[in-house]
């Protein structure tokens, strides 16, 4: 590596820190995220997202377009599917638990937590959720196993 290149990088690093520093509010938000830590839960990782960046998955996007996501808790064998529709400045979520059954769902988002229950077919609906990061914590009725939580995802 050129010594002069290293010097230039150092100069640019110092300049960027002054011209375009990391906003305080982003640091604050990042630190505050820790309050959402859950203990003893199983993660359902994002397995499919119709808005994923894989070009083969690309379709027509835009407001009013429904987005499909699927989260898999592999060890538990659960799948949580979401259908997300933007409505004005918020989103409506239709969910499906697989295997089907009654469950309590905590929809965690920037505006707080909303509690909903799924019906015996595993379906649930949440209306007018604030846009932004969302994670769903799911516990089954009469089940002592740890809760399943979906990966935080921007909806």
């Amino acid at each position: 590596m050129d010594h002069s290149d290293d010097k230039l990088i150092q100069e640019l690093r110092s300049l960027a820190a002054r011209a375009d520093p990391t906003p305080e509010r982003m640091l604050r938000a990042a630190k505050a995220s820790y309050a959402w830590r859950t203990i003893d839960s199983e993660l359902a990782e994002l397995a499919y997202d119709s808005a994923g960046h894989d070009p083969s998955l690309a379709g027509v996007r835009g407001p009013g377009t429904t987005r499909m996501l699927s989260f898999a808790a592999v060890e538990r064998g659960w799948t949580i599917e979401l259908e997300v529709t933007p409505v004005a400045d918020s989103i409506d979520i239709l969910g499906q638990l697989i295997p089907a059954g009654h469950a309590l769902l905590e929809v965690r988002h920037g505006g707080g937590v909303e509690l909903v229950e799924s019906d015996e077919l595993g379906r649930f609906a949440v209306k007018r959720v604030q846009e932004g990061p969302v994670s769903i914590r799911c516990t089954r009725a009469g089940d002592d196993a740890p809760a399943v939580i979906t990966d935080w995802t921007t909806l």
């Binding site: 590596m1 050129d2 010594h3 002069s4 290149d5 010097k7 230039l8 990088i9 100069e11 640019l12 690093r13 110092s14 300049l15 960027a16 820190a17 002054r18 011209a19 375009d20 520093p21 990391t22 906003p23 509010r25 982003m26 640091l27 938000a29 990042a30 630190k31 995220s33 820790y34 959402w36 830590r37 859950t38 839960s41 993660l43 997202d49 808005a51 994923g52 960046h53 690309a58 996007r61 835009g62 407001p63 987005r67 933007p86 004005a88 400045d89 920037g110 846009e131 932004g132 990061p133 994670s135 939580i149 990966d151 935080w152 995802t153 921007t154």
Partner: protein
Amino acid sequence: MRQAKVSVSRQDVEHQQEVRNLVAAAAVGDEAAWNALVDRFSPLVYAIVQGFRINPADAEDVNQTVWLRLVEHLGRLREPERVGAWIATTTRNECLRALRLARRQVPTEDEAVFERADPGEGTDRRLLLSERDAALWRLFETLPERCKQLLRIVIADPAPSYDEVASAVGLSVGSIGPTRARCLKQLRRSAELAGIDLGPSDSE
């Protein structure tokens, strides 16, 4: 031309050990360790977001999503010493997703959407720069997208590792060095045309 650095220096080993310890501590409830991770890697996240030219509202969502997701992955990372690369990859993927959805670029009259945007913080700051620094930063911003994106990440403070830079831009570790050199050469050329002195280059 310089070969990509494959060997790991003592400094890298210490850095990795430190990061691994922070992840392990944060995974079991040590909030100070979490805050240290945030302080260390937020500039990397911000540099990636800026490189993608994400609008401020989406940038905040990307930032928040990356850190919230990390909270739940702390105890599950396969290579905790590479948490920086994990953060870089996650940020990149979230930026690409935000660009694809580009939901907030649709005109809206809803005040709440704009309320979250950065109120011209950057513009004010630039007034504090010397004329020469301001000119250099403007020049930096006119670099071709790929160069600007790569260099913006390279110059994050603290300096990201090549592994982290590679994860952030979706290139191999080996191609970072040569690309970086090419982009700096381009910056030097533009600076010369603009009459900004960047000091001597070794290759001249």
